[in-house]
């Protein structure tokens, strides 16, 4: 079946896809332990029986037993050498059942291995895996291919490209239907939402998209609705027989064909035009679907005639007339010395932080440019793309026009990227447009060619027209082509800026295409660049700029965008404008709540000592010094402040903790506040030369152990109780602990260990102390340490930080 025929057919009638293969095979008594695809060679008759049963029930499309038919998957059963034979035979079996009356579909499922970074499989390896399966399928000449149950958008991209290449090699131009599996929360396990999936698949020019497996019809309906809003392509749906429940280790599906019936109409109304079923279903379900779908004519839906891009988890639309969103320009070494130095060294720290910062600042997509002197751009671009994708959810603009670099980036892209840019040079158009088509990317066409940058509006329009023609010739969708009118620095002459703005207008009016500009170029070589950038951006937006590539953190740029959106009615009620401007006016911090205001009122009437006590109990570290100062100024001695405010406050905190009203972080906050207060009083209390403390404790995490948060919590609490604490850090050898304890005249040694493999070191320290006649009490604690272990090594024990402080208190007395 040709792609064009399918496109027509899918909106003439509902196509019924068959149901589960494994469930039916098991019901026919075949052992389910071997390779499901092995049956193709070992028992083709039973497969034919299954196909026949589904045709009998009313299926229009029956699918091969090749869900796990890719070599990586078959290798689990030692069958990878038979990839070609299994896939070819499976199609032949389906064809013999179909008899030319039913569509013989080929099923392709995930490889079961993981693509980088989770697994070791690279995009190229995944591509090869599916290409080999596709070659086998192509040999059997199926009518269409359905990709089922994919969770990783990058893997399904590799699968589509691989299988398509194999089909083209065999001269087949058949429809490809891409299905992913969505969880109950409406996203795939790797976070892809229906709209992003639709955007990526449309760009890959599949012929239908859909959803199957994992959940039942109730959970799948919202996904189908979301897909219908996101694409004009035919939508397929194959639910399980409800959500599976695990009984005796086996998945059990409880929905019956009768339960399934009412969902058929709902799926059709929601926009589905291909309906089948997945795990736990039988030909009885197919019968119910065929009956429910009889006579229904799927309604065509309107498409999206504007650029859409996507990251793995987020799609972004650039619809002219909607609110303008900036594209972040900051990942670009031009004029940025530190970034350039990092890129030359292969470091990605700034790339990562710039990606996150620009997303936070409201960027809609991120331009990634790694052109630095003497670097392997191919390798560096691939790494930069991976880094940006890990740090942000935004779509990417691949800012490079070297085809090898662009392709390396496209293989890493998890969504739909925009290639920035393709000039009107014949060679660039002939190499980059096919790459964009192959990997499903959009393209920026830039108004320059072999003859350089045209000086006139007409000259630039002529190049833009040339790029549009080349795109049409390559069957590249024009909605995915945006045109760059090209900005030169105003220092080269303001008439050149006027040419840019006029070209923008003409691209919109004469060519009907969307526009993009690297706005900041206008101020190149001039001082106070933000002011000029902001003013030019406003003029360009007015002239019809859709995608401004700018610094989204710059205030002048933000002023321009927020104001423009408000003035053009793209910010209803001025909500975004007001939020932006008021957030700048308000100092950072927490807004004052009613409860907070009331507490302030109450405190006003308290004595300074009572006020300080409340500050400590509430854990307000920043207010503690002020509270101590007020207490001192009202004539209280330091010792009075300690005894009448600080100590009672910590006792109250202890009571709140014992009553379970406070939990550990709140105790720590109070301890931090107490410590801050105590620090202010230390000099006044230092009458005995101990620094005003109750004595010294030496503390360490034992040798080999790298965990020290628990130890640090104990330190905070000890210090808040007035002890001087010498922290030796983590993984400290026994000798160092004892030397420090002796030198610092400690009255107690505190040791922490989190793991069984390291707590033996506590015994080493205790024995060494005895051997060296160091008679300082040792207290031990940590997740795996027990009272009996402490007893065994002759140490004291604190089950948690709070008990540890109590034990230290007893020793100090």
């Amino acid at each position: 079946m040709k792609r064009e025929e399918f496109k027509k057919l899918a909106f003439e009638k509902v196509l019924v896809i068959d149901g589960a293969m494994g469930t039916v095979i098991q019901s026919l008594g075949l052992d389910a332990d071997g390779a499901p695809e092995g049956i193709v060679l070992e028992n083709p008759d039973i497969l034919k029986k299954v196909h026949d049963a589904y045709i009998e029930a009313g299926a229009d499309i029956i699918l091969t037993d090749t869900f796990g038919g890719s070599p990586i998957r078959l290798a689990e059963y030692g069958l990878e050498g038979k990839t070609e034979e299994i896939n070819r035979r499976a199609v032949e079996i389906v064809r013999s059942s179909a008899g030319g009356k039913t569509l013989a579909g080929a099923s392709v499922g995930p490889s079961g291995a993981f693509l980088e970074p989770i697994g070791r499989v690279t995009f190229d390896e995944a591509y090869k895996n599916f290409f080999l399966q596709g070659r086998g399928l192509a040999a059997g000449k199926p009518d269409l291919v359905i990709f089922e149950t994919f969770s990783d958008i990058r893997e399904i991209k590799a699968a589509i490209i691989g299988v398509r290449d194999a089909l083209e090699e065999a001269g087949l131009d058949i429809p490809l239907i891409a299905q992913m599996t969505f969880t109950e929360d409406g996203r795939t396990v790797t976070g892809t939402d229906p709209e992003s999936f639709a955007v990526v698949m449309e760009a890959l020019r599949v012929d239908g998209i859909g959803v199957n497996c994992s959940v039942g019809p109730a959970e799948m309906l919202p996904v189908v609705k979301a897909l219908a809003g996101a694409t004009e392509l035919p939508i397929s749906v194959e639910p399980n027989a409800g959500l599976p429940s695990l009984e005796n280790g086996r998945a059990v599906f409880k929905l019956t064909p009768e339960d399934f019936k009412p969902w058929v109409g709902q799926f059709l109304e929601a926009g589905a035009s291909l309906i089948g079923s997945c795990c736990g279903t039988t030909p009885e379900f197919t019968k119910v679907i065929a009956e429910g779908a009889k006579g229904f004519r799927p309604k065509p839906r309107a498409g999206h005639n504007y650029l859409r891009l996507a990251g793995r988890t987020k799609a972004v639309s650039f619809k002219s007339g909607s609110a303008v969103r900036p594209i972040g320009e900051r990942i670009n070494p031009a004029g940025r010395k530190v970034l350039k130095a990092q890129l030359v060294e292969g470091k990605m720290e700034l790339v990562r932080s710039e990606a996150a910062a620009q997303e936070k600042a409201g960027a809609a997509a991120l331009d990634v440019n790694i052109s630095a002197y003497k670097v392997d751009e191919k390798e560096l671009m691939a790494r930069a793309v991976k880094t940006v994708q890990a740090a942000s959810s935004l779509p990417i603009l691949i800012d490079n026009s070297n085809p090898a670099v662009v392709e390396a980036a496209l293989k890493e892209i998890e969504g739909k990227a925009l290639i920035n840019s393709v000039s009107g040079e014949t060679e660039k158009m002939e190499t980059l447009l096919p790459l964009a088509l192959r990997y499903g990317a959009g393209v920026i066409g830039i108004a320059l060619d072999e003859n350089g940058i045209p000086e006139t509006v007409d000259g630039r329009l002529a190049v833009a027209r040339k790029i549009c023609s080349a795109a049409e010739k390559a069957e590249f969708p024009l909605k995915d082509l945006v045109l760059d009118a090209l900005v030169l620095s105003v220092s080269t002459g303001p008439e050149k800026t006027a040419v840019t703005l006029e070209t923008l207008k003409k691209i919109k009016s004469d060519l009907g295409r969307q526009t993009v500009l690297g706005v900041s170029n206008v101020s190149y070589g001039l001082p106070e660049r933000p002011a000029l950038n902001g003013a030019f951006l406003t003029a360009a937006l007015e002239a019809g700029l859709d995608l401004p590539i700018v610094d989204p953190l710059d205030e002048a740029i933000r002023n321009s965008i927020f104001s423009f959106n408000l003035l053009k009615g793209a910010d209803p009620g001025g909500k975004e404008y007001i939020a932006e401007m008021t957030s700048r006016a308000r100092p950072e911090g927490v807004s004052e709540t009613a409860a907070g205001a009331m507490e302030k009122d109450v405190r006003k009437n308290l004595s300074p000592l009572e006020r300080l006590k409340r500050i400590i109990i509430s854990g307000e570290k920043d207010s503690a010094p002020e509270g101590v100062q007020a207490a001192l100024e009202s004539g209280n001695e330091a010792l009075v402040i300690v005894n009448e405010a600080l100590v009672p406050a910590m006792s109250e905190v202890g009571r709140l903790f014992n009553d379970k009203a406070y939990f550990l972080p709140q105790v720590l906050l109070s301890a931090e506040a107490m410590k801050a207060a105590f620090e202010m009083l230390r000099d006044r209390l230092d009458s005995d030369g101990t620094g005003g403390t109750k004595g010294t404790v030496v503390i360490a995490t034992v040798k080999g152990d790298v965990h020290d948060l628990g130890k640090n919590i104990v330190i905070t609490l000890l210090e808040s109780h007035g002890y001087r604490v010498i922290d030796l850090g983590k993984s400290v050898p026994a000798e160092n602990v004892l030397d420090a304890a002796v030198n610092e005249k400690a009255f107690c040694i505190a040791l922490s260990s989190l793991m069984t493999t390291t707590m033996g070191e506590m015994k080493v320290i205790a024995e060494l102390a005895r051997a060296k006649s160091v008679r300082i009490p040792i207290i031990v604690g940590g997740a795996v340490v027990t009272k009996s272990y402490a007893d065994e090594i002759g140490a004291l024990y604190g089950k948690d930080a709070i008990e540890a402080v109590e034990v230290v208190g007893k020793i100090s007395k």
């Binding site: 290798a75 989770i118 009553d659 406070y662 939990f663 905070t716």
Partner: protein, 203 residues
């Protein structure tokens, strides 16, 4: 991999009980550090599927028999608990998942600066996050490989010593995601989990 942690889970790990009352100072630092920790987390994972060559009730031998020359490897697990868990399984997935070093660096920096309450919050979010990530890896495997997995089990639990980390490392090469093991078999960054889960049957 995108993983999130609910406030409820993070608070529970911090010890918040039914009777706990959260004061304003805590809510402020919690909200700041909770959001910050989620933004800092960089979840990375490596996984491998190995066939179970032997399981005699005390010792399991897992082997990569796919013939992939990059990963010909044998992993030995000496543990009755794991042996029991993998009883009847023909294969198992090993994996290592980390929430990344940035999060742990922040915990250490905060603790060093005496901000232990904040450190504790980031630490708790990190701990929950890596647990959630490990569950997510299992779900991901179940869907993409169309298998049902047993519960996951990690070295250091039951009778499986921490030295098991080194065995898992043989198959996973955890350094690829920036995880290292020290002489006491502790992993850095701290918020990292290695585990094994058996394949129950093909779907």
């Amino acid at each position: 991999m995108t993983v999130s942690v609910s406030r409820r889970k993070a608070l529970r790990r911090l010890g918040k009980g039914l009777k706990s009352e959260m004061n304003a100072a805590f809510v402020k630092i919690f909200e700041e550090e909770y959001a910050g920790a989620l933004a800092l987390a960089r979840v990375d994972c490596v996984a491998a599927r190995l066939n179970i060559a032997e399981n005699d009730g005390r010792r399991i031998c897992l082997r990569d028999e796919t013939g992939d020359e990059r990963s010909i490897v044998e992993v030995i697990i000496e543990s009755r608990s794991v042996s029991e868990l993998l009883k009847g399984c023909g294969a198992a997935y090993l994996f290592c998942v980390t929430a990344g070093s940035a999060l742990v660096d922040v915990v250490n920096a905060l603790a060093r600066d005496g901000e232990t309450a904040r450190a504790l919050v980031v630490d708790a979010v990190g701990s929950e996050l890596v647990e959630e990530a490990a569950d997510e890896v299992c779900r991901y495997i179940e869907r993409t490989a169309a298998v049902s997995l047993t519960k996951r089990f990690s070295p250091g639990y039951g009778d499986w010593g921490l030295c098991g980390q080194a065995e898992l490392d043989k198959a996973l090469d955890i350094s690829r995601i920036g995880v290292t093991l020290n002489e006491a078999f502790l992993m850095t960054p701290e918020k990292t989990i290695t585990a094994v889960a058996g394949v129950e049957k093909s779907k």
